[in-house]
Symmetry: C2
Subunit: 373 residues, 2 copies
């Protein structure tokens, strides 16, 4: 791609786009017209087109997983993707997609509905993890790739990779599930549903009809604070914050203001998120996570046998409250039962669900070993 | 007390009241005038006045821990208090107090401020766990009791009993801490502070100036849902709800309505709470829990040595997310280090923090054994 002319407003942007077939029928009914998926790539697709690694994301990241010439900003998995790193771009052509339903270039509830000329908002059809997988597959097809070397995803992405191989048997030689699950537990559903309640009970949400300038920030802040609580662990915060008071400059004079360092951290996380994510997109993606259930595709071992994945790595952490290590162990057992060569890597990181973003050393080692093996 | 004349509006009520000294200086400054504490009792105070057991409550219950002739309704610890039960009323004179700052008869932010003739709301002075302990002590003094046989409390009550013996050395022969802690962890602080944020970011809260007819119900519902999440455990909900769909009659047509049974349970808990608890009282009590730190009274072993508790039982559950078993183990060790004859009973109940309300069989056995020993 030609370098864009440098203008005052030009922001670095490495995104490319694939148009989805139009109409694009959705898994639970309804269809999209003129929808697109944003993605970024690193490394080169080889002539045989058999060195592609497709990476799905968690709920909130964009396709910008790592820096590149077109966008030198740090990505959400910066230390994992590059020459000689775990996702080795000397060897792999890495594709990261922004999920269908999200708001970083892919079509979602904040996008324009061609039928009305206004944003979809709640007219966006029901979103399923299966739709995210199918939309990602269109990116793969656009490159003429017949079979991925590896499909990989953390968190929500760990569900998407299962939907992917269930829907497209034989489409991936290897699979890496990172802190994922074949179906969310009732505790995780409860935690996420209260986040959605926080948004929908904010009067500024206006039944989804908020204007982009007046989003339901109070509800989104609450949702993100609660999310952050479930992405980490008690042990990490004990080490990191203990009962330290908040930095005096972060304290304000409102009643019941924050007094402890951990509260300042939650607030900072929430503020960052509120300015970057659309509330309706959040609601659709969050609900899709709750609804996904691999067993809707059939008995898990049978589904995975049919999926023809040769090798699978199931990796997660013992301190994960949200996608528990027990769920991940069960997934690894299903792969084994399906005859897949399986590695199960339960890590003892203390960072909880988000450990894959933080302890890239340990996660990197496991993934590099697997991909190299 | 004379039986009230039966009128259409007469509700069963076993509460008695003690006036606090006026002014009643508060631990962190400020004072109350004409304040009172509501309490209920079961069993009889013996002539030596040495068979009293003082029970403090968790954040939200009233003093109605069990039924009695004056109030036959089931209490919050019904299966624990009575003739032959763990808190054996054939033997003990059991007193349960409604915490200062609460809204079930004791003075709190929803009470009338004699200085203005209107509710205190945020003019209620800062509330500390120490104030709850001191107010409870006034009830004990009103009976001419010089030394309690036992002071006992679960959850917040587990903090109050520590404040009690720290403030009144020698005032209790025995202490029972149930799922308590000497100081909340940053994870628990974070969980509670998001509950407070849910209330204070509800526009209906109006900076505490809501009218009793228009309370911040949306914020209170969110707070209670989140609270409920932290009072139970993932394992319990797996057993109880798994991924069962919600009962069809509980589903509504609002966007992002509940779909799973666990969501229906959270909603039911929230609805029950919203109609029963004042939002400002909740904020004051919740913050008091975060702020309490036994070590503010001195090095814990030294404080407990000075407290002259002869025997202590520290009981809690391994699945407790909020007041972890590690914190309870540390408390037991401090008692041991202080020379107190100590029992530590870590229970393997799966109900999380609230297990003391549910698994009364196991808790009852431990407490009966301790009190009998």
């Amino acid at each position: 791609m030609a370098t864009p002319a440098p203008t005052e407003h030009a922001k670095p942007d490495a995104r490319r786009y694939v148009k989805l077939p139009s109409p694009f029928p959705m898994w639970r009914g309804g269809e999209l017209h003129g929808a697109q998926i944003a993605y970024e790539t690193w490394g080169k697709l080889n002539r045989a087109r058999d060195n592609a690694l497709l990476l799905f994301t968690g709920l909130s990241p964009s396709a910008h997983a790592a820096s590149s010439a077109d966008d030198p900003r740090e990505g959400w998995w910066q230390r994992m993707i590059g020459p000689g790193l775990a996702l080795d771009t000397d060897r792999y052509f890495v594709i990261c997609v922004n999920s269908l339903g999200s708001c970083f270039g892919s079509t979602g509830p904040a996008s324009i509905n061609p039928a009305t000329g206004g944003p979809y908002r709640l007219e966006f059809p029901d979103l399923s993890v299966e739709d995210i997988a199918r939309a990602g597959h269109e990116v793969v097809r656009s490159f003429g790739i017949l079979r991925l070397d590896t499909v990989m995803g953390p968190s929500l992405g760990g569900m998407v990779v299962l939907a992917y191989v269930a829907l497209f048997p034989g489409a991936a030689r290897q699979l890496v599930s990172i802190s994922g699950t074949p179906a969310a537990s009732p505790f995780a559903i409860a935690l996420r549903s209260v986040q959605r309640d926080a948004i929908t009970s904010d009067p500024a949400w206006r039944n989804g009809q908020y204007s982009p300038e007046r989003p339901p920030t109070a509800g989104m802040r609450l949702a993100r604070k609660l999310g952050t609580l479930t992405y980490r662990s008690a042990a990490e915060w004990q080490q990191r914050f203990d009962r330290q008071p908040i930095r005096p400059d972060l304290k304000d004079s409102t009643p019941f203001t924050s007094e402890f360092a951990v509260q300042g951290y939650l607030t900072a996380q929430a503020n960052r998120f509120v300015n970057g994510f659309d509330a309706n997109c959040y609601l659709y993606l969050s609900r899709a996570i709750d609804r996904f259930d691999l067993s809707a595709h059939g008995e898990p071992e049978a589904v995975l046998r049919k999926a023809k994945v040769e090798r699978a790595l199931v990796i997660g952490v013992e301190s994960d409250l949200l996608f528990t290590i027990g769920e991940q162990r069960a997934l690894a057992q299903s792969f084994e039962g399906a005859g897949t060569e399986t590695r199960f890597a339960p890590l003892s990181c203390i960072e909880g669900h988000d450990a894959f973003l933080i302890d890239t050393e340990r996660f990197g080692r496991e993934i590099r070993d697997f991909l190299g093996g």
